[in-house]
């Protein structure tokens, strides 16, 4: 524990003392794979063959996020990031409608590595590929509504907050647009090894179906474009272009 605190203190000291910092925002397409939850949705459709418009599996959504990264050493950046993703499936068969929505909030500590910049004294490149590795906490907030009413499980409105761990890896590239602004396309893969979405299949079905589980891993591919803004410091030499 002491070692961890020392390492983090060292890294943060590095961020504050001499390094160049970046703030970035991004948005994009997010693909999710959550097999058991989608089996619940498929079972919902199966039980209602009369619905012309059926619920689609939760497999695509939108993501937006923002973060901060500061250089620890040449070619190596570290920083926190907050991300929001939303996945939604709707079936509208007037006057009946069904909706399953999954709000996902992630807080991640990312390490960005710029492999082409380990050996250079100053960054002059206008194209800067990077690799990202991170880990953090995810908050899943599912919601199920039938005919615009949020369903109950038991006597409670179904509105669980499910915390779990995640890790992510990705690749991206920064393209210099101006002295301090870079375009930042990125592909990110995030995995939650185990998520128990409490009572999800009961919420979707209104009953217990033994074959359906609320627990699965969540695999999330994200294709995003962002803007990275360099926060300039007075004594910055290394990053001067």
């Amino acid at each position: 524990m002491k070692q961890t605190i020392l390492i983090i203190s060292f890294l943060l000291a590095g961020l504050g003392a001499k390094s160049q910092n970046y703030f970035h925002v991004y948005g994009g397409y997010s693909s999710i794979k959550a097999d058991e939850w989608n089996r619940s949705i498929k079972a919902f459709n199966y039980a209602r063959p009369w619905l012309a418009d059926q619920l689609r599996p939760l497999n695509a959504g939108l993501t937006a996020g923002m973060g901060f990264s500061g250089a620890i050493t040449r070619g190596f950046f570290l920083g926190p990031e907050l991300q929001y993703s939303r996945f939604k499936s709707e079936a509208s068969n007037d006057p009946f409608s069904a909706m399953v929505r999954l709000n996902v909030y992630r807080g991640t500590m990312n390490a960005d590595v710029y492999p082409l910049e380990f050996d250079v004294d100053s960054v002059e490149a206008t194209i800067r590929p990077f690799l990202r590795i991170g880990a953090g906490a995810t908050l899943f907030m599912p919601k199920v509504a039938l005919s615009d009413s949020v369903v109950n499980v038991g006597n409670e409105v179904y509105n669980p907050l499910v915390w779990t761990f995640h890790y992510n890896v990705g690749v991206g590239c920064k393209f210099l647009l101006s002295n301090r602004i870079e375009l930042m396309p990125m592909v990110l893969y995030t995995r939650n090894p185990t998520v128990d979405l409490d009572n999800f299949n009961i919420a979707v079905h209104g009953t217990t179906i033994p074959q359906l589980s609320n627990i699965n891993s969540v695999n999330n591919w994200q294709f995003m474009v962002g803007i990275s803004i360099k926060i300039k410091k007075a004594d910055d030499e290394f990053f001067e272009r």
């Binding site: 199966y46 590595v113 039938l146 009413s149 038991g154 893969y189 995995r191 209104g206 217990t208």
Partner: protein, 457 residues
């Protein structure tokens, strides 16, 4: 070296997860079971399960013991051409698969039952507002309605609802109201309802509290419109006497000695039929399964339809609760286009047992006398036109009302619902494991639970 590491690490993390992601079980895909299934029972669960299974290529045969389909949904033509429900009549909640189906079949026909419940308190009919707020009741009314909402979070030990109610400062005048509002609506008497099973049932009930009816149609019409081919192919007049599942296939023998063979059997017969042991299982059902059949509550049930030539009850009434002999009179015709001036009464538990010894004429005389004493208006007898009595407990193909949360029933529905040897499956309202037993949508939910079990095993 560092560059290799940075390339290798992401690959190492991603690739295993991609392989694991490929292991999704296909819910009802190409690998699903496509053999022969025999369904015993042509009620809600049987017909709905048949429609789901046949949609996925399963060869389904439905055997129904009676001369028509519908099970405990039935109706009778009354004077003036009204066709009145003699079994299930109330649609409980609007968030259920049955409501979804109604909205698909006939969206204009579903109707929130209009009006107020009236409660009989010391020979006076009182509204819920009165009971909650009347000063002379010293808060007993408010306490009573709080109790009604509290079963889902009941914290104590298992006891009868009757014993549970004793601990509250309820006015003795609420005894019959409690019997009507709790015991009778659950299909029994408060003495036989268990608090823990009630908790299990109430905590899972997600369909909503509002009650609905059909404005112009009858409940079985919905199924006939939605699943006409399935219903047309039901083999009627075929009570099953034996299910032999000892071999590779299952042999089902009817009382007229016709033998059907199937890969799997779905049993949807009423709980009363299982309790009576009319169907012989070979090999015998396991001890826990037999105990579940015994433990889940089921009482006698008598449905009374009273037709009048004019109304004598409050114009805004939808139900009158708390009378001594008939716990609840429903204003069946409230808001409906297809009936007028009709009361129905579903009597269960001990009171049904008392009524079962009476003839239709005696029940008629007793009901009219009771209605007269309710001070609803003059001329009850003069306005009376016709009575119909359906004795569900005496029906040899049904043998009771609907399952209720009994003192010994905690966790037993799960046991009853469990498949046996991947050949014997169970559905029907009594096998609903999520608080929706005793309802039409509960029977439907049990049917698709069982259909998925059949397809995936």
């Amino acid at each position: 070296m560092i560059r290799q590491l940075m390339l290798g690490l992401p690959a190492g993390l991603i690739i295993p997860s991609l392989f694991s992601a490929c292991s999704e079980k296909d819910l009802i895909g190409d690998g699903a079971f496509k053999g022969k299934v025999l369904i015993i029972g042509g009620g809600v669960a049987g017909i709905y399960a048949a429609s789901l299974l046949s949609k996925y290529g399963v060869q389904v045969t439905v055997l129904e013991a009676a001369v028509k389909t519908g099970g405990r949904i039935a109706s009778v033509p009354m004077a003036g051409g009204d066709v009145v429900e003699t079994g299930a009549e109330v649609i409980r909640g609007d968030k259920s698969i049955f409501n979804d189906l109604i909205r698909f079949v006939d969206p204009a026909d579903v109707l929130s039952i209009p009006g107020n419940n009236y409660y009989l308190l010391q020979s006076q009919l009182r509204t819920e507002d009165y009971l909650r707020n009347a000063g002379d009741l010293q808060g007993a009314g408010e306490t009573f309605f709080q109790i009604l909402d509290s079963f889902a979070s009941y914290p104590g030990e298992n006891k009868s609802v009757e014993d549970y109610l004793i601990q509250f400062p309820l006015d003795p005048r609420f005894t019959e109201i409690a019997e009507a509002r709790i015991g009778n609506r659950f299909g029994t008497s408060n003495q036989r309802l268990g608090t823990l099973a009630m908790k299990e049932s109430e905590a899972g009930f997600t369909a909503g509290k509002e009650e609905f009816t059909l404005k112009s149609g009858n409940l079985w019409d919905i199924f006939e419109k939605a699943f006409p081919e399935v219903i047309a192919n039901v083999v009627l007049n075929s009570p099953v006497k034996k299910i032999d599942y000892s071999g590779a296939t299952v042999n089902i023998t009817t009382t007229n000695n016709t033998v059907y063979t199937a890969d799997k059997v779905l049993v949807t017969v009423p709980l009363g039929v299982l309790k009576a042991g009319i169907i012989e299982f070979s090999p015998l059902l396991s001890g826990p399964k037999q105990e579940a059949v015994t433990s889940i509550g089921l009482d006698n049930c008598i449905k009374i339809v009273l037709k009048f030539i004019g109304p004598f009850w409050q114009s805004d009434a939808k139900s009158i609760l708390g009378a001594l002999h008939i716990p609840e009179y429903r204003i069946y015709s409230a808001g409906k286009d297809n009936s007028a001036n009709t009361l129905t009464a579903t009597v269960t538990g001990e009171k049904a047992e008392l009524l079962s010894a009476m003839s239709d004429g005696e029940i008629q005389a007793m009901a009219l006398a009771e209605l007269t004493t309710l001070h609803l208006g003059q001329g009850v007898v003069a306005l009376f036109q016709q009575i119909y009595v359906k004795r569900w407990g005496a029906d040899p193909l049904i043998r009771g009302g609907w399952s209720y949360p009994s003192l010994s029933g905690v966790g037993q529905k799960e046991v009853l619902a469990e498949p046996v040897n991947q050949k014997l499956f169970f559905a029907g309202e009594a096998t609903n494991t999520n608080g929706h037993s005793g309802t039409i949508h509960g029977a439907m939910e049990s049917a698709y639970r069982a259909a998925i079990e059949i397809l995936e095993q």
